[in-house]
């Protein structure tokens, strides 16, 4: 049987059913796709522990990345991740059903970070074991070795408002509207911060290339 004949035969047999097959494959794709965060949160509120696992899997990479950028310290970021999930657990009955989960969770994480930073400021500076003040970091004096490190340094040097806007939209993938909700401002203000942040990065990286 030639290939052309086989193609004709397939078209003759399957052709009329093609729209139905397309519809069926679309339904199957939707059924197999990840459940929405809002759906998972509602199941978690209803006491479903497996929904928590799925929520953790979907939220943690982005949330941890965000907290790590805010704190610039792995252990503190992990502590804050734990605090954030504990707050979600305690506040689950107050979650307004149907409300977008992503901005809600990121806002809780952000607030936890600022509360922790405020508390840390009020504590006296930690002394090292021999009772002296810790040495100041001399990272700024180092010269970055590649563009990736230069980018990292530039992100750290960037004004906090710009950095947060870029981390939320570029690294964690929130939309402008979601980032605006987390930051308590308008989407236009977030776009402006992102725009200025990119300009800052561009200038810093050009300086590195020179």
């Amino acid at each position: 049987m030639s290939a052309a004949f086989a193609f004709q035969l397939e078209a003759w047999l399957v052709g009329p059913a093609r729209p139905a097959l397309r519809l069926w494959s679309r339904v199957a794709r939707v059924a197999q796709s990840e459940p929405s965060l809002e759906g998972l949160m509602e199941r978690y509120v209803d006491g479903d522990a497996r929904a928590f696992d799925a929520l953790y899997d979907q939220l943690t990479p982005r949330l941890f990345g965000y907290l790590l950028r805010l704190t610039r310290h792995r252990e503190r970021a992990e502590d804050l991740l734990q605090i954030t999930f504990t707050k979600i657990y305690r506040a689950r009955s107050s979650y307004l059903r149907g409300a977008p989960v992503l901005p809600w969770v990121f806002a809780i994480a952000r607030r936890s970070f600022y509360d922790e930073r405020r508390a840390a400021k009020s504590r006296s500076e930690e002394l090292s074991r021999d009772g002296t003040l810790p040495e100041p970091h001399s990272e700024d004096a180092d010269v970055p070795v590649d563009v990736s490190e230069a980018l990292d340094r530039a992100l750290e040097r960037m004004p906090e408002t710009y950095r947060e806007a870029i981390v939320l939209t570029k690294l964690t993938g929130l939309s402008m509207t979601e980032a605006a909700q987390v930051l308590g401002t308008s989407p236009t203000a977030v776009k402006l911060r992102v725009h200025r942040g990119y300009n800052f990065l561009r200038q810093e990286l050009e300086r590195f290339k020179r």
Binding site: Y44, V45, T60, L96, A99, W104, R111, G184, S186, Y198
Partner: protein
């Protein structure tokens, strides 16, 4: 301001990958947050809105019933009526458009303007609605000041009941801007107290209205700002 273009977003750079926390952390968090889970259904948004409005209306109705037997000039009646109408509008807007949609409400600047502007507008309204004005010295010499203080304490008490009830109904619902939401709760609580005392007290003297009826709005808005972060944030 349009979205940043793909080129502007520096796509060619090696943007850092999202890191993973240490694997043991998952178990620790799971133990704290997902072992022995029980359903924790809180009231729906609609139920919270209804409860808040019912609470505020209840406070006003109680003082209105107390005031029923009292003789009052018609000007005081008009002041109370328009004050109550204004309170109703602000109360409904704050509950329905701000507290019920914490992440999705309009930009914070608008609600900050409401939290600051409404107490000022209310004081302005009381000034315009006043029927007489005593010199300050005379106001403090006679028993006028005592009467105003009594009204103020009553307004504060009833306003605080409404505000505390509202804070309780909406507790832990706003991680976005809880201080601002707290201030709005204090504002509507203060307006509830002021409206209620406006219905119960027929006085029309300016100092009395400012101290006895108006001050509670500013006091409770400030208290709400301070308390909101503790009560409304998860």
């Amino acid at each position: 301001m349009t979205e940043p273009s793909a080129e502007e977003a520096l796509p060619d750079l090696a943007w850092p990958e999202l890191p993973e926390p240490r694997p043991e952390l998952r178990g620790e968090i799971r133990r704290a947050c997902a072992s022995e889970l029980s359903p924790r259904r809180g009231p729906s948004v609609g139920a919270r809105v209804a409860l808040t409005l019912a609470l505020a209306a209840g406070v006003v109705v109680v003082l209105a019933l107390i005031a029923l037997g009292k003789e009052r000039p018609s000007s005081a009646g008009h002041t109370a009526f328009f004050g109550a109408a204004g309170w109703g509008v602000v109360q409904t807007a704050v509950v329905g458009l701000a507290l019920a949609r914490p992440g999705r409400r309009a930009a914070g600047g608008l609600w900050l303007a409401v939290a600051l502007g409404v107490p000022l507008a209310f004081i302005g309204y009381l000034t315009l609605a006043a029927s007489s004005r005593l010199p300050l010295g005379e106001f403090f010499r006679g028993d006028h000041a005592g009467g105003a203080l009594g009204c103020g304490l009553h307004a504060l008490l009833f306003g605080a009941i409404a505000a505390a009830g509202t804070l309780f109904i909406w507790r832990r619902t706003d991680p976005f801007s809880p201080a601002l939401s707290g201030s709005l709760v204090g504002l509507v609580g203060g307006l509830t107290g002021a409206t209620a005392i406006g219905i119960a007290c027929p006085a029309g003297e300016t100092w009395h209205l400012w101290i006895g009826h108006g001050a509670t709005v500013a006091v409770l808005a400030l208290a709400g700002w301070l308390l909101g972060r503790r009560v409304l944030a998860p």
